[in-house]
């Protein structure tokens, strides 16, 4: 359980959802039973129009977390100063709960793949990421959260496990973590590691947020598609996550085959129940 005296994170705002344009009318019509929302930062890095108007109305009613997909913190190209300026400007406007992106690289030599590509878990990559995180945190004036990505290959040049790499990045760069429980599960199947071992090695005091999402099971491997409800093994792993990390802000990400809001709220209630059960057991045990 999270030791509050040494925790570096903010208190959990509760349970949230990723804000998607298809659900704007629901959120604008009436207050929905979520404690916070996560926005995709890039969707609001525009000059004007309806997206920013919706953002302004929604941020008046819900605390928002900003989640980006383009920081490319592990690219050997270095950081994109223009992108960071836009990110900072958006953060100044939104005043988010926190700002997150992925522990990955998205492009090199001035090109972008728009995919969240895995880094080798090497000392060289570690040094580069730590340096970049420090620069980003200095510019934004706050700790950022980095999220573990799903991956489909391992590099020969990796000389540590993914969880060691994640822990070292967080500790050395003094940043926080966004645990994507689905990604941990997906990668554990694709690479044959223990998801529990992954979670056991992460620093409790640096885990600020949890993502839950669905995936596509291809039998021999799993792809992180965000187009299905959260799968049962991921719910089991979420229970274990709650047992280890305690009361952590949790949300569901859905990016494709997006259902009506009610379905996502029902899924979120399952997360609420699991977290409440775990906390209750821990309370009794204490």
């Amino acid at each position: 359980m999270k030791p509050s005296s040494t925790s570096l994170t903010k208190n959990s705002p509760g349970f949230g959802l990723g804000l998607r344009p298809v659900h704007y009318p629901d959120f604008l019509k009436e207050k929905q039973p979520v404690e916070w929302l996560e926005i995709i930062s890039e969707n609001y890095m525009v000059k004007g129009g309806l997206p920013l108007d919706h953002l302004n109305k929604i941020m008046a009613q819900y605390p928002l977390a900003m989640h980006g997909v383009s920081l490319s913190i592990g690219s050997t190209d270095g950081l994109d100063k223009e992108y960071l300026k836009e990110l900072k400007a958006l953060a100044q406007h939104v005043q988010p709960l926190w700002i997150s992106d992925h522990l990955c690289w998205t492009g090199v030599q001035g090109r972008n793949t728009h995919d969240l590509l895995p880094l080798p878990y090497s000392e060289e990559a570690l040094k580069l990421v730590v340096q970049h995180v420090s620069q980003v945190q200095e510019m934004l004036g706050q700790r950022i959260l980095l999220e573990n990505v799903s991956s489909y290959l391992d590099y020969k040049s990796s000389d540590m496990s993914e969880w060691m790499f994640l822990r070292e990045v967080a500790t050395r760069a003094d940043c926080l973590l966004l645990l994507d429980v689905n990604n941990i599960y997906v990668s554990s199947i694709n690479h044959g590691f223990s998801a529990h071992e992954f979670l056991d090695h992460l620093p409790v005091e640096r885990v600020q947020q949890v993502h839950l999402a669905g995936h596509s099971d291809h039998g021999d491997y799993i792809v992180d598609t965000h187009d299905h409800p959260v799968a049962d093994p991921v719910w089991d792993l979420y229970r274990y996550t709650c047992e280890r990390f305690g009361d952590v802000a949790t949300m569901i990400e859905r990016d494709d085959n997006i259902p009506v809001l009610g379905e996502l709220l029902a899924e979120l209630n399952r997360a609420r129940s699991i977290a409440a059960e775990v906390l209750e057991v821990q309370k009794v045990a204490a």
Binding site: E42, N43, M45, V46, K47, G48, G49, L50, P51, L52, D53, S70, S72, S75, T76, D80, E82, Y83, W105, T106, G107, V108, Q109, G110, R111, N112, T113, H114, D115, L117, L119, P120, S122, E124, A125, L128, Y152, L153, D154, Y155, K156, S157, S158, N190, H191, G192, D220, Y221, V223
Partner: protein, 265 residues
Amino acid sequence: MKAHSLINLQVAFHDHLLNRPSDFAQEVVDGGRISIEHRLHIYHNAYRARLVENLQDAYEKTWAYLGDETFETAARAYIEVTPPNNRNLRWYGATFPAWLGGQFPDDGDVAELAVLDWQLRLAFDAPDAAPIQTDALTGLTSENWETIGFTLTPTLHISQLRFNSVAIWHAIDQEQTPPASETLAEPSWLLIWRKGWKPHFRTINAVENAALQQLQQGTPFAEVCASLSNQFSDNEAAIVAAESLHTWLNDELIVELTHVMDSNS
């Protein structure tokens, strides 16, 4: 084999994604339930699938016009020669209309329809600017009218039309069979802008196009009217000017009055 440095590893991975010669497979651990080749294919496929989906989203009407198969073939060919270079996926595909023009040289309507798709998307989240209301003009003196100019909305885009792509767009929008492609008999221009929060477009003729181009360049309204007098009788020119101004105000095209100094003063 000596392991690549991080930069070489990233370049090799990227080269693999782009179908360039690459020894990236040698950097990947063998083992597990799927082959190295399959692991690489997942990324190779995801890269293209994401960009195709983005082009389908940005070029919705063009996609419907060409049909799934032709559009996807074109999109995939475009992706091969146009690796993304912007951090934000929002901007990927800006050159797709011009590229389509080269791919379908005998079907210029395709590229025109794509311009319409793209420009409507640009207008959707272009900068905000509040339109002026008619009463902003009511107190103006005749002296004011001699020097005044108009700033047009920053969401405005004008491009020339050669085909009936606007009629094709409307038919697709109403889920009807689009008309056959035709070259327009009269020169026409496409005016795209945002009214309120909604992107709008309409076809304009040479006279309105010339007037709007003049205003965009900062020409005083009186001079625009003088240009009209060169094409029409004074009476007709006055009517065209008044009607045009009325339309522009209704369309929320004018966002600011500027007092352009008379060159004689």
